[in-house]
């Protein structure tokens, strides 16, 4: 049985513990936001990897559309689920960070809004996957919906930006010092390793389920008598 992803997962767990320790106790308070700025080390890596995991789903979708190989569909399925988990976490973290800095749990900021729309889209894809039994149909539909959703993300971002520009814009000061960059990188590495484990495990579940529901192979054709 393959174990390579467990090595990544274990390393990811250790790196995450180190990264969070550094973020909480070692890194200096942020210049503008003080200790609240420590949320940077969880929030930004999660945001970046939520996007990156959806990129993986996009690659899986394109792969399926081009090659019709089920492995690509399993990758799509795995990455969408992991991406949705990351996206939910991202929105909650954004909300937690927004309260002390902006004074509100929620604001119609372009990033927040397009992240929410992205979550809704991919939840739709998961529900679509569950609405059919046929593996080929499921794979095609999911791939098409993933590509459309993915292409739509920048358009949504732009449209929300224009929509908000008529009211007011929120600016987040990003003043980053040397030790902060180091802590940030440690946390990015942790996230990369953990995502590898998540996607790989979820891929195996998809593969196993596909094998279980595949029809038994037909017996060899008999000789025809006439």
């Amino acid at each position: 049985m393959p174990k390579w992803e467990h090595i990544a997962g274990l390393l990811g767990l250790i790196t995450l513990i180190v990264g969070h320790y550094l973020g909480l106790f070692w890194a200096p308070p942020e210049r503008m936001m003080g200790d609240v700025g420590r949320l940077f080390y969880v929030h930004v890596p999660v945001a970046m990897f939520a996007m990156l995991v959806f990129c993986v789903a996009f690659v899986g979708a394109l792969g399926y559309l081009l090659t019709s190989r089920m492995e690509a569909d399993w990758l799509n399925e795995a990455a969408i689920e992991v991406g949705v988990v990351m996206n939910v976490l991202l929105l909650m973290l954004g909300s937690i960070w927004g309260k002390p800095t902006w004074g509100v749990w929620w604001t119609w900021d372009p990033r927040l809004t397009s992240a929410t729309v992205m979550l809704l889209t991919f939840v739709g894809v998961i529900l679509l996957r569950q609405a059919t039994q046929s593996p080929e149909k499921r794979a095609t539909w999911s791939a098409v919906a993933t590509v459309l959703a993915f292409v739509n993300v920048p358009v949504t971002y732009m449209s929300v930006k224009w929509w908000r520009s008529i009211h007011q814009m929120q600016s987040t000061p990003e003043t980053v010092s040397e030790p902060m960059v180091f802590v940030f990188r440690v946390n990015l590495l942790a996230m990369a390793l953990l995502m590898t484990w998540f996607i790989a495990r979820r891929w195996r579940i998809a593969k196993h389920r596909a094998m279980a529901e595949a029809p038994a192979p037909l017996p060899p054709a008999p000789q025809v008598t006439s």
Binding site: E30, M32, G34, D35, V36, M92, I96, P100, L194
Partner: protein, 48 residues
């Protein structure tokens, strides 16, 4: 809850409860998802 806006120094003071909530939530969700992956994995709880 009062917003911890900039006071004098230009730096937001306090707010450790938000930091703990953020880091804790990350562990909670990653842990929960990891457990769900292990439970659903083809070999059951066995991770090989």
């Amino acid at each position: 809850m009062t917003p911890l806006l900039a006071q004098g120094t230009g730096m937001i003071q306090g707010g450790w409860e938000f930091v703990w909530a953020g880091y804790g939530l990350t562990w909670l969700i990653f842990g929960g998802y990891a457990i769900s992956l292990i439970v659903r994995s083809p070999t059951g709880g066995d991770l090989s």
